[in-house]
């Protein structure tokens, strides 16, 4: 451990706080019906993720992790929200239609998923490394992101949900390891996510053109 | 075992001569019982002779099968006759075939008889063939079961051996097995020889005749062979019945013994013929689709006979 213990404690608290805020944002996303707000919520969530990475980098003096944080800010806080915003404007959707589960049920489910996240993460929490206690939140983010994905019907919301799952995974990476993943892997993941979103954007655009709708529940011609 | 040519010739002649006599007797006695005068006993011989001399009229639709059939029917019946012990305890051709071969030969005759019925293309012939084959089919299992019963008891399917076994002290006359087997075989005999209640040999009514329907297109010597063949077949089956179940008086060897044997045999035969006559006069012909009931009764009797060998041994 490079950092002194007091500051490590501070860092740990900061990380926990930010992780908790990520979860709150996630829950907001679950009940939010407006797509543009959703994108903004995602941007803020990603910002917290970058913040966590920054804190880890600061307390561990790890240059690599700074790069990761920077990449996160560039990609997930700036570029992707911009891209999605542009998509939304191009295809003019404002509001998500009725989700599969209504808000109270969704919150209930998310509560259950959070519980599950804690149970799954319990064997690995309480370790001496920085940010380890956020693993439960990371898993919860993954699970609720997943839930969000099938709860919503608009293609863009589903993309957004996928991205939050991705945030959850990255949080888990930080939570479970000292410095996150090796840089080469981080780069790989980063570019994959970027390309994925771009391709998804292309598809969304084409679907919009062909179906005159962004409702994925209309994409049900292929059966059996 | 060896072939004894004189025996063969003797039995052939016996078969040829005795068969029409039995048919004649049955006809005559039946008439008597019905208060008619009836044809003389010898009438059948005269008929056959007459048929032989007549010209033959063949259907223009018929093929070679039509002309072959009478020979096959006749020879098969005759050959079957040579496999059965008649006056002596040994059949002349027992080496060539056992009781199964006998059944097979009779079936061969029937096969060609039915083909001959179909060949001219008349509806009667077809009807007759169809019914004949049907009745034979349902009669066959009963026949086989009855035969099996005695064959199992004798440990052989060889007729000579079966008869010899019947003469041995092991044989019990009123063994329920034999009684039931005899009853089964008797029913089969009625069916196979086209007797009332299965078929009426005297009728030419379109819808009821079976055997006669097949012969409808036959004439001249072909008809003679067919009729003769039929009466030989009847004789063979009756012989089978009397000699298996009443093996008294079967000659061993020597001309005198044989002559005595022939006499006793004729007496037994006539007794059986009388039984047939009584059944024929006291019963009405059954509807075609009731015949299987009768034959299934025969089958049940056969099964019971078999089971009783099992139960009463």
């Amino acid at each position: 451990m490079n950092a002194p213990s007091v500051s490590a404690d501070l860092g740990s608290q900061l990380i926990t706080l930010m992780a908790a805020l990520m979860l709150v944002l996630q829950l907001l996303l679950v009940v939010e019906n407006r797509v543009l707000t959703g994108i903004r919520l995602y941007a803020i969530q990603s910002l917290f993720l970058a913040g966590i990475a920054g804190v880890v980098a600061f307390f561990n003096n790890a240059v690599d992790v700074y790069i990761v944080a920077a990449l996160t800010v560039l990609g997930k806080v700036v570029f992707l929200p911009w891209l999605l915003n542009r998509q939304v404007r191009r295809i003019q959707i404002v509001q998500e239609i009725e989700p599969l589960f209504n808000a109270p049920t969704a919150m209930l489910v998310c509560g259950g998923l959070t519980l599950l996240g804690y149970i799954v993460a319990r064997p690995f929490t309480g370790l001496e490394r920085l940010g380890n206690n956020t693993l439960a939140i990371a898993i919860t983010l993954v699970l609720t992101g997943f839930f969000l994905m099938f709860n919503r019907r608009k293609a863009l919301t589903q993309v957004l949900a996928l991205l939050t799952v991705e945030n959850g995974v990255m949080l888990a990476a930080i939570a479970l390891t000292t410095y996150g993943m090796p840089l080469v892997v981080e780069f790989g993941i980063f570019f994959d996510v970027l390309v994925a979103v771009m391709i998804l954007g292309i598809l969304v655009y084409r679907i919009r053109e062909s179906f005159a709708s962004m409702d994925t529940s209309k994409l049900n011609q292929l059966k059996g | 075992m060896s072939l004894d040519l004189p025996d063969v010739v003797l039995q052939t002649v016996l078969l040829l001569l005795l068969a029409p006599l039995v048919s004649g007797c049955v006809k005559n006695w039946k008439a008597k019982l019905q208060n008619r005068r009836g044809p003389p006993v010898w009438q059948v011989y005269a008929d056959l002779l007459k048929f032989f001399r007549k010209d033959v009229v063949i259907s223009e639709h018929a093929s070679w099968v039509f002309s072959c059939a009478p020979y096959v029917v006749f020879v098969a019946a005759l050959l079957a006759g040579l496999l059965v012990p008649m006056a002596t305890a040994r059949a002349p051709l027992s080496l060539f075939g056992d009781v199964l071969a006998l059944v097979g030969l009779l079936a061969l005759g029937r096969f060609f008889l039915a083909l001959g019925g179909l060949d001219p293309g008349s509806a009667f012939g077809g009807m007759g063939s169809s019914r004949e084959m049907t009745i034979a089919a349902v009669a066959e299992p009963a026949l086989m079961l009855a035969i099996f019963t005695v064959a199992i008891a004798a440990g052989s399917t060889d007729l000579s051996r079966i008869v010899q076994f019947a003469q041995s002290p092991d044989w019990k006359w009123f063994n329920p097995t034999h009684v039931m087997a005899f009853a089964a075989l008797f029913i089969v005999l009625l069916a196979e020889t086209g007797r009332i209640p299965v078929d009426n040999p005297a009728t030419h009514l379109e819808l009821t005749m079976i055997h006669e329907a097949m012969l409808l297109e036959y004439s001249g010597r072909y008809l003679a062979l067919m009729k003769w063949g039929a009466s030989i077949k009847q004789l063979v089956l009756m012989t089978l019945l009397v000699n298996i179940f009443f093996p008294v008086g079967l000659a061993a060897a020597g001309p005198r013994a044989v002559a005595l044997g022939v006499l006793i045999y004729a007496a037994k035969l006539l007794a059986l013929a009388a039984a047939v006559v009584i059944v024929e006069t006291t019963n009405a012909k059954l509807r075609l689709f009731r015949v299987p009931d009768l034959l299934s009764a025969a089958f049940s009797l056969g099964t019971l006979a078999l089971l009783s060998t099992f139960l009463f041994q």
């Binding site: 149970i119 099938f150 994925t216 049900n220 011609q221 292929l222 059966k223 | 040829l16 032989f52 001399r53 010209d55 009229v57 259907s59 223009e60 639709h61 018929a62 093929s63 020879v75 098969a76 005759l78 050959l79 040579l82 051709l93 027992s94 080496l95 060539f96 075939g97 056992d98 199964l100 071969a101 059944v103 097979g104 079936a107 061969l108 096969f111 039915a114 083909l115 179909l118 060949d119 293309g121 008349s122 077809g126 169809s130 019914r131 084959m133 049907t134 089919a137 349902v138 066959e140 009963a142 086989m144 079961l145 099996f148 064959a151 199992i152 399917t157 051996r161 010597r221 062979l225 078999l306």
Partner: protein
Amino acid sequence: MPVDAILSAAPLKFALLCYVAGAFAGLVFFRFERAATLLSFGCAALASLCGLAVCAAALAGGMAAANPSFDLLPSLVPWMQFTVRLDPLGAFFGLVVSLLGLAISVYSLGYARGFYGRKNVGVLGAFFNALLLATTLVFLSGNAFFFLIAWEIMALTAYCLVSFEHEKDEARNAGVLFFVMSHLGTGCLILGFLLLFQASGGYGFDGFHALGDAMSPGKRDAAFLLFLVGFGVKAGIVPLHIWLPSAHPVAPSNVSAFMSGVMIKAGIYGLARAFFDFLGPPPGWWGVTVLSLGVISAVLGVLYALMEHDLKRLLAYHSIENIGIILMGLGAALMFLHSGHPVLAALALIAGLYHTINHAVFKALLFLGAGAVLHATHTRNMEEMGGLAKRMRWTALFFLVGAVAISALPPLNGFVSEWLTYQALLQGFGTTASLVRIMFPISGAMLALTGALAAACFVKAFGITFLAQPRGEHAAQAQEAPFTMLLGQGILTAACVFLGLFPTVFLKLLDPLTQQLTGEKLSGQLTAANGLALSNGALSGGTVSMLGIAFAGLALLAAPLVLRGLFAARAKTRLAPTWDCGQPGLTPRMEYTATGFSKPIRMIFKALFRPRREMQREYDFSPYFATTLRFESHVEEVFQTRIYRPLVRQVLRVSRRLRALQAGSIQAYLIYIFLTLLALLIFAL
């Protein structure tokens, strides 16, 4: 005599190569019909001839002969070897295959002409050769893996041949049904062989010999049932037979002949191989099961055959019947082995196997005859035939011989094998004291019923097809088949007669076989009177001599001829119309039909057939003067309507229900994954 030379591997390899060459020749020359026909079927005939020599020599050489055994191909991996091995059982079936292959190939030289310009004869020849090759290899393979490969290729080529005239829906559906059933059977076989594999640790047949002792009873019984079902499908045992009556008729007739004659015998081969070679001393219920199945198959087969007026379907149902008869022999043999009577077992086995070759010969003969009829009349419907005996004399004669043989009438071969079966059954009564023995005579009685019904059926088949007036235009203009087709039938007719008249000669060939499977050599005991007569093997048993009966019959023919000479010397013969009840104009429409012929039997067994009839009458003023009359009559195929169709319907219904899983909604798909994830996370805790 260079028996050793024949028994070396070379001639066998040559035969197999010939089949391959024939197959390729058919494909290469498919644009030249004559060349393709000549080359492919010529090669097949040559190969069969060669195979015939090899197999006969191997059987004649007995157990002691150094039978060829070699690897056809280098093995891919150690446990899969392409071992070709000529043991007595294989050689016997090889003999059947080769004999029929020869006759059918010769026949096909002429038969294939019917396809010129219509279908690709080269492909037919190629598949035909492949089928022959695969079937031969089925009988000669000495390794379970190789056996299964040959088995599947046999099914595959047979499928292609059944669907050869695939323009007809009937042929396509029949092909699919055949292949599906066959594959279900193969599945059972695979499991069966794997059970053996588990016990022996290898796939070689040598290692499987009498393996049953080393297996637990449960596994042994399982293997028995698996083999019974697996091979039973191919053999066409009721109730696994449903593919047979639809597949055999639609194939080209030469193929039908082969399928009915040989291919279903592959099932018998397998049963014999599995029960007598592999599984060791049988428990009592095996034999009872097999015997009962045999009885059921025989009786139901012939009953359904009687209801057919499609000539080839009729023949196909008769195959089921005869398989039943063969099974009676095998079942009885199993029962005897159980009760410790190897001699009797050998007798029963001989009865079954003798019937196997007999059925192969006469059924192929009948199918070839049916093919010739089909060739001439372009229909399989007997109701449109008739009068062919005058127009196709030789075909009619050959068919008649086949009909007499299959009806088990003396003096032909069918009678001989049924006689042996009867003898085995009769003697079985004394082998056990339990009530089970009642099965023997009852089976015998059922065999008698079968025989009599078969006779009825063939009176109908021959009578309606060949006798009386032609019922259809094609039948009226029918022409005799070409020489090669007649020659093919002639070979089989000769075989029928030979197998009928000289069983004692042929039975010697079965000695090594019974010795292999039951440890007994029987042919010596089965001959009597210097080989003239067949005896049942027991000291006091019955004898029968077909040769004697035939000669006696010929001699007795003197009687009617003498009588004719005596009395009828001056009698004339003249032709006249058939008696028409005084109403002139007897037309073919007034003849008895095939349906009419079998009506009494339909009525007697109506509980089984559940006949339905529909009559529609149109009339102007009185119902007694109908203007048109439509009559339909149906017979229900119980197994199809009561078992298979509901089963298939159920499977399809379940499948359609399952389709709802894939309803097209991505939400649903995500939920599947989500639930799986939750389940696994909880599982991994």
